[in-house]
């Protein structure tokens, strides 16, 4: 195995993300408070935390879906221009009335001309291993295949920043492992910045350069993952780090669970 070939693409086009004092409250309830985070171009960050810890809210703020936050957020592309984040949701969110290839071409936005969009969409579909399924309706695909189409749609515009909101949470264990290596591969090839929200500590350790633990709306832990890629889940250090993270995660309580015996 040539490890060198699996280092991140050096011709980086990832965006840097800077969060300063990000806060968000819904009515009286404060969900996020004073979150500072610096993400360098091309980095793969995993955000873990219990349900209700505010990790999804943080993700929606970075993705631009939630504008009502306090503090300062800046996303800078490598070439200096401002870029839109691409989002992968927990559900594939494919248009059922559009064929697979049309769904991927949808990711190029309303301005794209049909002919060129389809050519790019075909390349993106091939990258996720579904090059021959372009003409089908989304509902004949399996759950994992639908998420691969959603990934192709997110990547077809060659984004600088990809934001993933538990995209593998609804998949079965085997499909999830396949998707994780697919995600790692396209990230290494394309060099975008990736921010992944997940419940799954092993998934965070497999994919991320850095794991950030959110607890009660604050960053409780910011941990660099030193392992070389591709990562072996069986390795002893991997297991130790997984246990360390799990313990930290279990100690952190979301406010709603404090009174549960």
């Amino acid at each position: 195995m040539k490890i060198a070939a699996l280092q991140p693409n050096t011709a980086l086009r990832g965006a840097s993300v800077t969060l300063q004092g990000i806060g968000r409250s819904f009515g009286e309830t404060s969900v996020l408070e004073g979150v500072d985070l610096e993400i360098s171009p091309g980095e793969f960050i995993a955000i873990v935390g219990q349900s209700g810890s505010g990790k999804s809210t943080l993700l929606r703020i970075i993705a631009g879906l939630d504008q009502a936050y306090k503090g300062h957020l800046s996303i800078g592309a490598s070439k200096g221009q401002k870029t839109a984040a691409r989002i992968m949701y927990q559900e594939p969110r494919l248009l059922p009335w559009a064929s697979v290839i049309e769904n991927v071409a949808f990711g190029l936005g309303p301005q794209a001309t049909r002919h060129q969009a389809f050519a790019q969409a075909r390349t993106a579909l091939e990258a996720v291993g579904l090059g021959d399924r372009g003409g089908e309706w989304p509902d004949v695909l399996s759950g994992g295949q639908k998420q691969r189409v959603a990934l192709a749609r997110a990547l077809v515009s060659k984004p600088d920043l990809l934001v993933l909101d538990e995209p593998l949470g609804a998949l079965d264990a085997l499909t999830r492992i396949g998707m994780q290596s697919l995600l790692e591969r396209v990230w290494l090839e394309q060099g975008f910045t990736a921010i992944l929200v997940t419940h799954d500590v092993a998934e965070a350790l497999t994919l991320a350069d850095r794991v950030v633990l959110i607890e009660n709306g604050r960053i409780a832990l910011d941990l660099a993952i030193p392992f070389a890629r591709p990562r072996r889940r069986g390795a002893v250090q991997f297991g130790e780090l997984e246990e360390h993270l799990l313990t930290a995660l279990l100690k952190s309580k979301s406010p709603s669970e404090e009174y549960v015996i």
């Binding site: 993705a63 631009g64 879906l65 839109a84 691409r86 989002i87 949701y89 559900e91 969110r93 248009l95 059922p96 009335w97 559009a98 064929s99 949808f106 990711g107 190029l108 936005g109 309303p110 301005q111 309706w137 509902d139």
Partner: protein
């Protein structure tokens, strides 16, 4: 067929298949017609053996003869053409208004707040109850029929268009917005296709109401059309023509319903419920 395939556009292969499945070529296509055919045979037999007096119900062969006679004289075609014109003019006017208002109320809260309550109040008036008033307003001219049909088809199309737009998956809308879709492009690519199944259900209901309203209006107040033909035949005890008119209503209703089904198959071929093999 070629025009339809042209309209079908990108997924023409699948759509052609969907279209072929509507033609009664396969042996299964014969099954739905078994019951009407049996009734027809029994009816003819009892009329031929004198069990049914012609003044009550004429034999199917007499009805067919009346159809032939009126076709030759041109009377049938002229009346049918007039009824057809009235029905579809009403559908276009009432349906068009309903579609426009359904869109604007589905898309804009302000528009909904200012008109929906009024529409819901007027909706509960049976449109045929307006016949006396309409005759006073318009006499028995074309406007009366046009008004009644437009009024009748308005509500099913309005309600289903409105409902269709309001039930478009908000997750899809959020996704499309994040890819930069807004305004007309968002409407064309996401909202309208999402609302289309519901809109077509409204159209199907509207077609039924369209014929019903028109026939009643023509029976009461008209000097031409199929309803008038039946009503004037009654005065001369021409039961064969009365029955002929009723048979034509049945066929027109079936044809209208069938045409919406073709539209559904062609435009909703992505939908599992409308795909080949799935019959509603």
């Amino acid at each position: 067929m070629s025009e339809l395939a042209l309209l079908a556009g990108r997924h023409s292969n699948r759509k052609r298949e969907a279209f072929a499945s509507l033609l009664p070529i396969s042996p299964n296509g014969f099954v739905p017609w078994l019951l009407p055919l049996t009734v027809l045979v029994l009816w003819q037999a009892s009329a031929s053996y004198g069990a049914l007096p012609p003044s009550i119900l004429p034999a199917p062969s007499d009805v067919a003869k009346a159809a032939w006679r009126l076709t030759l004289s041109g009377e049938l075609l002229a009346n049918a053409a007039i009824s057809f014109k009235r029905a579809f003019s009403g559908l276009i006017i009432g349906g068009g208004l309903a579609f426009a208002l359904g869109l604007s109320n589905g898309l804009s809260r302000l528009s909904e707040r200012s008109t929906d309550t009024t529409i819901q109040m007027v909706r509960n008036i049976p449109n045929l109850a307006l016949i006396p008033l309409v005759i006073l307003w318009f006499g028995i001219g074309e406007e009366a029929k046009l008004f009644l049909v437009s009024f009748g088809v308005f509500f099913p199309i309005y309600i289903n268009t409105f409902h269709g737009i309001r039930t478009v998956d908000p997750q899809l809308v959020e996704m499309a917005r994040s890819y930069g879709f807004k305004g007309f492009e968002l409407f064309r690519r996401v909202i309208l296709p999402g609302a289309l199944p519901s809109i077509l259900v409204g159209l199907r209901y509207a077609l039924g109401i369209m014929w019903l309203t028109l026939i009643v209006a023509e029976t009461i107040a008209a000097q031409s059309g199929l309803g008038y033909m039946a009503m004037s035949a009654r005065e001369f005890m021409q039961t064969d023509i009365v029955v002929l008119a009723i048979v034509i209503y049945a066929l027109l209703g079936k044809a209208a319903d069938g045409s919406v089904r073709v539209i559904e198959r062609l435009s909703l071929s992505w939908h599992p419920a409308y795909r080949k093999g799935a019959r509603l």
